[in-house]
Amino acid sequence: MSMDDRHVEVELRRGVLPLVTLCLLEEPRYGYDLIRLLALRGFDIEEGTLYPLLRRLESQGVLVAAWEPSAARPRKYYSLSPAGREARASLAALWRRVRDATDEIVMEVES
């Protein structure tokens, strides 16, 4: 079976993007700042992908957002809400379970 490695990688990264985003929002950040940080960590995503995610997380109450007027031009800063911290912990636990289960299967085959 031939697989498009790039496509699989994009899908995997997209799947963990909410968790990674919540982890990077320990302190308030604006959109581009978040994109830059994600790119530094190997998640090269575009605004068209991140913005809908931020909006969805905000509407779910996971993130709180506020316009910061002190900059030269107002910027919208996103940060974790108390519910967001719980969601992050829950997602992190889920991620570890999936990762461990995957590792176990892959190692069985490789060993």
Binding site: G31, Y32, E46, G48
Partner: protein, 317 residues
């Protein structure tokens, strides 16, 4: 600092156009902020327009962005639903207008069997039911079109029709000049322009029924002039300007229907042209004017729907 390139402004305008009014301003402000942040992070040597273009490319096309903003997984995209709703308004308005025109013309048989015919006039219930039938028929036809050519999405060639935008000051001035010209033609010069000349005398040929509608036409022109004044006062895209435009359009449509149903629109003088010639010319001119009136009514009807949607959007801001 606002966005400089026409592409960026058009992008935001398209987003505003596609989104529900309650969310439009918020999303547009956030997306504009994202574009600014990306542009600021680029090398200062890149021209602003080029930088904005690159930032837009990272956002994707407006329709795709709108669809990804939906809260729940959806089988029909938001842009497809809005496109459907807008086309339905336009299609149903034109269909109803044609049906009303056929009814007024006294047609007793459908013009296109199963698709277009006069409204039932037996009772109020019958009229309402046949009007409802028109709306449902159009919804069904449009649904079939979407399903066949676009799957669950929007057919490629059937984007949501653009809504009229605000007016520029230059456009407002040009319209005022045109209105003044029309007013001069309709009043001081009317009896000279719309007249038959013979043996040095000039005989007006517009029928009294048509001349009697001039105060209504004046009211339409006054409303358009008022809209221009609102634009010149610096409120180009305000709800007031759109409201005045909508009112002018509605009054114009009423005026056209009155003109099309008048007992006579032209009255060429028989004593000047001779009986048979005057009769033939009367018939020809009447038919030409009625055709023009119907075509204008169609345009106005579509325009009215677009204006009403724009007003709704402006009121929602």
């Amino acid at each position: 600092m606002s966005l400089t390139s026409p592409q960026a402004r058009a992008y935001l305008e398209r987003l505003r156009d596609l989104l529900p009014a309650s969310e439009a301003e918020r999303v547009v402000a956030e997306v504009e902020s994202l574009i600014h942040e990306r542009v600021e992070a680029m090398s200062p040597g890149i021209p602003a327009a080029q930088a904005e273009e690159r930032a837009l490319a990272r956002l994707g096309v407006p329709e795709a962005l709108i669809d990804t903003l939906a809260e729940q997984p959806i089988s029909v995209g938001v842009s497809a639903r809005r496109s459907f709703a807008r086309w339905w308004c336009v299609l149903a308005a034109c269909h109803l207008l044609l049906s009303v025109a056929l009814t007024m013309a006294g047609a007793t048989r459908p013009a296109v069997p199963g698709l277009l015919g006069p409204l039932a006039m037996g009772s109020v219930v019958a009229t309402l039911t046949s009007a409802l039938g028109v709306l449902l028929l159009d919804a069904g036809l449009l649904f079939a079109w979407f399903a066949l050519s676009g799957g669950w999405g929007r057919p490629g060639r059937l984007g949501a029709p653009d809504l009229p935008r605000g007016w520029s000051r230059g456009e407002a001035w040009r319209t005022l000049v045109l209105l003044a010209l029309l007013a001069v033609i309709l009043h001081p010069l009317r009896d000279r322009i719309f007249a038959v000349r013979s043996d040095g005398r000039s005989v007006p040929f517009l029928a009294n029924d048509l001349v009697g509608l001039l105060p209504w036409l004046d009211a339409v022109l006054a409303l358009v002039a008022l809209r221009c004044a609102v634009v010149l006062a610096g409120r180009g895209a305000s709800a007031l300007a759109h409201g005045l435009d909508l009112l002018a359009g509605a009054l114009g449509l009423y005026l056209l229907v009155r003109a099309a149903t008048a007992s006579s629109v032209v009255d060429l003088p028989r004593e000047v042209l001779g009986g048979p010639t005057a009769e033939v010319l009367n018939n020809v001119l009447t038919r030409v004017l009625l055709t023009v009136a119907l075509a204008m009514a169609l345009f106005l009807c579509v325009g009215l729907v677009r204006r009403a949607l724009r007003l709704k959007q402006a009121l929602g801001r």
